[in-house]
């Protein structure tokens, strides 16, 4: 029996998230290897235009579920939609991105469709007719290879790990099939009523290609503007160590580490961060790591590709200017 995979795309205000392209591209690859069928699923209100874009990332067929009651996310409402579509399509696999949306939705869907989730996967390898998923545990201090044994196998894919690739210029727009799912008030036992951007245009560390993180070595919260300015030059997100979050210098949503966020950017610049075990766990899967620290014995240098020993307050302003020159800004 040929396998059917549903890859769920995520949109906010009609904009598809980059991570959804990554997930769909990977789902396409897996579907091809398994000789199966891939259908993307997008849920919201008036999302057909967004749906068409998915064609350039490997989804020829997209199911769009439009309902004004689903304009904002609802855990219970979206769970119902996914469950109905999975049943209608007789799908055996579901792919989502391990974003706030995917991580919230996946377990609820699993319970409803008699499935199970391999969460936050960093590798998916086809083995015979099945998938072996690799996922970090203990915030990346170890990895496990897992196999899902359930009627519906669900995989959430860590952002920034699987390449989305460039849109296929030859690829056409996706065929969009509209599917209606009735949503009653009882299906909306939880629903989002409002969304506020935490800071206009501020990038989240889990989504950024480059992160500039600061720690105690900055000596005072007043010096964090150096990190912000450096991040701005690079188009990077600002991160922070647990020490400075605990000290109240920075908001907790910037914290990188085992009790904060686990990140895998292309470039991670650790400024004045010594590299406690729990911090290293959260960022050591970054592709390139730069460390700036005055203590040349600091553990951060054990994972850094490039290090500079010295006072962050002296080095960061020079680095900012040098990067500006290099980037032609």
């Amino acid at each position: 029996m040929s396998v059917t995979i549903i890859a769920i795309a995520e949109q906010r205000n009609g904009e598809i998230k980059k991570t959804s392209f990554e997930t769909i591209r990977k789902a396409r690859g897996v579907a091809d290897e398994l000789g199966g069928t891939l259908k993307a699923l997008i849920i919201g209100n008036a999302v057909n235009d967004a749906a068409k874009k998915l064609g350039k990332y490997g989804a020829e067929n997209v199911i769009a579920v439009n309902n004004e009651k689903l304009a904002h996310y609802s855990t219970t409402g979206y769970t119902k939609v996914v469950a109905e579509v999975v049943k209608k399509e007789n799908a055996q696999m579901i792919f989502l991105s391990a974003t706030a949306f995917g991580k919230d939705l996946a377990p609820c869907v699993a319970a409803r469709v008699d499935g199970a989730v391999a969460a936050d996967c960093t590798e998916l390898n086809v083995d015979g007719g099945d998938i072996i998923a690799t996922r970090p545990v203990y915030a990346g201090k170890a990895l496990v290879d897992v196999k899902v044994e359930a009627p519906v196998k669900i995989y959430t894919l860590r952002p920034n790990v699987f390449p989305a690739g460039d849109p296929d210029e030859s690829g056409s727009e996706a065929n969009v099939e509209e599917v209606t799912v009735e949503i009653s008030d009882d299906d909306l036992k939880s629903k989002v009523t409002e969304i506020t951007e935490t800071s206009k245009g501020k990038l989240d560390v889990t989504e950024a290609d480059i992160i500039v993180s600061g720690g105690r070595g900055l000596k005072s919260p007043d010096n964090f503007y150096l990190i912000e300015e450096l991040a701005e030059v690079l188009g990077a997100a600002v991160g922070a160590s647990r020490a400075v979050v605990d000290a109240g210098w920075r908001p907790h949503d910037e914290q990188v580490g085992q009790t904060g966020k686990t990140v895998s950017p292309v470039l991670y610049i650790a400024v004045g961060i010594s590299g406690a075990v729990q911090h290293l766990a959260g960022m050591s899967s970054s592709k390139y790591i730069v460390a700036i620290n005055k203590d040349n014995d600091a553990p951060i240098f054990q994972v850094a590709d490039y290090g500079i020993v010295g006072d962050a307050l002296e080095i960061v302003p020079v680095l900012k200017e040098e990067l500006k020159k290099n980037l032609g800004k």
Binding site: Y73, T75, T76, T79, T99, K103, D104, P107, A110, A111, A116, V117, A118, A119, D120, I132, P136, V137, Y138, A139, G140, K141, A142, L143, V144, V146, K147, V148, E149, K189, S190, K191, V192, T193, I195, T196, E197, T198, K202, G257, T259, T262, V277, Q278, A281, S284, S285, I289, F301, Q302, V303, A304, D305, Y306, G307, I308, I315, V318, L323, N326
Partner: protein, 248 residues
């Protein structure tokens, strides 16, 4: 208000993970276990709600005898009762949630609080699964919670934004850092917790659905090079990032 708080017992964040002899789990020798940090926010929130609205707080944990330490901590912080759902095997989120949900069917809580994820398996699934097994809604990664008139308003973190969620009770809420500042158990609380019984019940068993085939260490990162000292080293660093790493 009847509040159930689900707590898990995990290796502390300073743990250096060694792979156990079975090749599928960690070697627990020398590992210090703690209350899962996110569960402390859940316990604190439960206590705050009870202090405001009255009711009782039940701490629930599924696992082996050692989980009693974590339940004892929840009692010391102020939980009224604790129950250990006994299960000596390591199970996945699906099986753990099933065991907890089966027990909670009999307790009928108005609110179930969990930490957003345990810091061992990092699944972020138990809350959503329990909710669905009980046919009630859930809200995950919550940083602010208000309960009034039989419903709740929660603020949850998403990438670069906050969502404001309304949900009916009973509901499962998963706690994120920022929700509150967990209290330290008082000496009186610790003494009282020693006297409070921990009920022990055989957990309803379900099979794990996510089978761990192997656990391994991530590839060792080779220590890189120290480019130099002080601001003078900056131009060379930028050159390396541009020409060697090609990341800028």
């Amino acid at each position: 208000m009847k509040i159930a708080v689900c707590v898990s017992h995990v290796p502390d964040t300073e743990t250096k993970v060694k792979i156990g002899s079975d090749g599928r789990t960690i070697d627990p020798s020398g590992v210090n276990y703690i209350v899962n940090p996110y569960d402390e926010f859940a316990i604190e929130e439960a206590l705050k709600i009870r202090e405001k609205d009255g009711g009782e707080v039940l701490a629930v944990s599924l696992g082996g005898d050692s989980n009693k330490e974590t339940l004892r901590k929840a009692l010391a912080m102020g939980a009224d009762k604790a129950v250990l759902l006994k299960d000596k095997d390591v199970r996945d989120s699906f099986a753990v949630a099933k065991g907890i949900a089966e027990y909670l069917k009999g307790y009928e809580p108005d609110l179930i609080l969990v930490g957003k994820q345990s810091i061992d398996y990092d699944n972020l699934q138990v809350g959503g699964l329990i909710a669905e097994f009980l046919g009630i809604p859930s809200v995950s990664v919550v940083v602010k919670l208000e309960i009034a008139d039989g419903k709740l308003k929660a603020e949850r973190e998403i990438e670069g934004a906050h969502e404001f969620v309304e949900a009916s009770l009973p509901c499962v809420v998963s706690a994120q850092r920022g929700l509150n500042e967990p209290r330290y158990p008082s000496l009186k609380g610790i003494m009282q917790a020693k006297k409070k019984p921990i009920e022990e019940v055989e957990a309803a068993k379900a099979d794990s659905r996510v089978k761990v085939l192997a656990m391994k260490k991530p590839p060792e990162k080779q220590p890189g090079k120290i480019v130099g000292e002080g601001p003078e080293a900056v131009p060379e660093l930028v050159r390396l990032l541009h020409e060697e790493a090609k990341v800028i």
